[in-house]
Symmetry: C2
Subunit: 219 residues, 2 copies
């Protein structure tokens, strides 16, 4: 297909596609005449992946290149590749401050209370959780930390849905791509649903007579 | 307090504080001598709010200014102010493409199945959900749309926790600030927990004998 069709099928504008090719995130198409380049289904899949990482995941180009090189290492163990990709997709990757021991304690306590037995103090996902906990403390939002178990139950529900989607894929590369795209867009899906649930729950808890509180319905 | 203490208490570097003052996101401190400016608790609170919006919410400066002007309009109805702020915090605010009717249908069907009776086709949160649905379709992730109800149940759990935190606040301005910061950092908290739950759920579903699938534990 020509670049225009590639653009239409992925929703990525033509100049952006050319930029990704220049940056090495997407291989160039096959030149079939002096003024025509042809792209295939592989380009469609790769472009959707790049778009997920750059636009929704907000990953810097260098990080995207790192993730893609894992996707492109078929000889390596899929487990370790998934792990590297998962780490790259973790929230607050840009922060590398020392994590406070008290925040690590809280993160581990949340994991233990929820039966997450694979987590240890040196797991990078626990570090990410501890950083969020530390930020919430700094912001005076301890109540949200106290309610983390309710968030954790919700996270288990969502993870079960994610795994079901993953299990439906058989091809190794497809599993990795689905995991990446699913993680990034799953966050977007959950965010949209959470905001609707806030409006609805708020309306139930704070009746018309008490309009001072709650997440508003501004229509 | 001096700017150094303000920086320590909020985690915002001094040059960034000065930048926020220049951009009008934070009022300047009180000049108490020729070379000293003093900041108070109001600055601490405002700075935490700005940081949440800029750094975690990734809102552009102009949008932050808009949100803050709502926070600073005490005479207006809190309900409508919360709504304007909620819209600003919605995902994919930068997208203003026409939403496909089929995606709106799907978004409304999800809302109806989950008893979210306040949602209508022209609600901006439904538009956001429809955009996510459209992107998932484009990416070939229809299975995730099929599992949206499970995500929705999780969203209800989280929203209930959010409302409980909000109900604990009595001051009007505090409610608005808590809603903003809670929405932004609640996403970060949920994201961190979701990634842990993926690792754990994956380990349960895909045993050692089948290491080809799942969200990896790369430690």
């Amino acid at each position: 297909m020509r670049i225009g069709e590639l653009s239409a099928r992925t929703g990525v504008p033509t100049p952006t596609i050319k930029y990704y090719v220049r940056e090495g995130l997407l291989s160039g198409g096959e030149r079939i005449s002096s003024n025509q380049v042809s792209y295939d289904e592989g380009h469609v899949r790769r472009l959707r992946l790049v778009r997920a990482l750059v636009e929704i995941g907000s990953l810097p180009i260098a990080k995207v290149r790192e993730v893609l090189s894992e996707v492109d290492s078929p000889d390596r163990d899929l487990g370790s590749r998934l792990g590297i990709v998962g780490a790259a997709l973790s929230a607050r990757q840009d922060q590398h401050e020392a994590t406070a021991p008290a925040d690590l304690d809280t993160a581990m306590a949340i994991a233990e209370r929820n039966g997450w037995t694979r987590m240890t103090r040196d797991h990078h996902q626990i570090a990410t959780l501890a950083e969020v906990v530390g930020t919430l403390r700094l912001l005076g939002l301890e109540e949200l930390i106290d309610r983390a178990d309710q968030y954790a139950r919700a996270a288990n529900l969502v993870a079960a849905a994610d795994i079901a989607v993953l299990k439906a894929r058989s091809d190794r590369d497809e599993v990795l791509e689905t995991m990446i795209v699913g993680t990034v867009f799953g966050d977007a899906l959950f965010g949209a649903l959470r905001r609707i649930a806030q409006v609805e729950t708020s309306a139930l808890h704070f009746k018309q007579s008490d309009k001072r509180h709650g997440f508003a319905d501004d229509r």
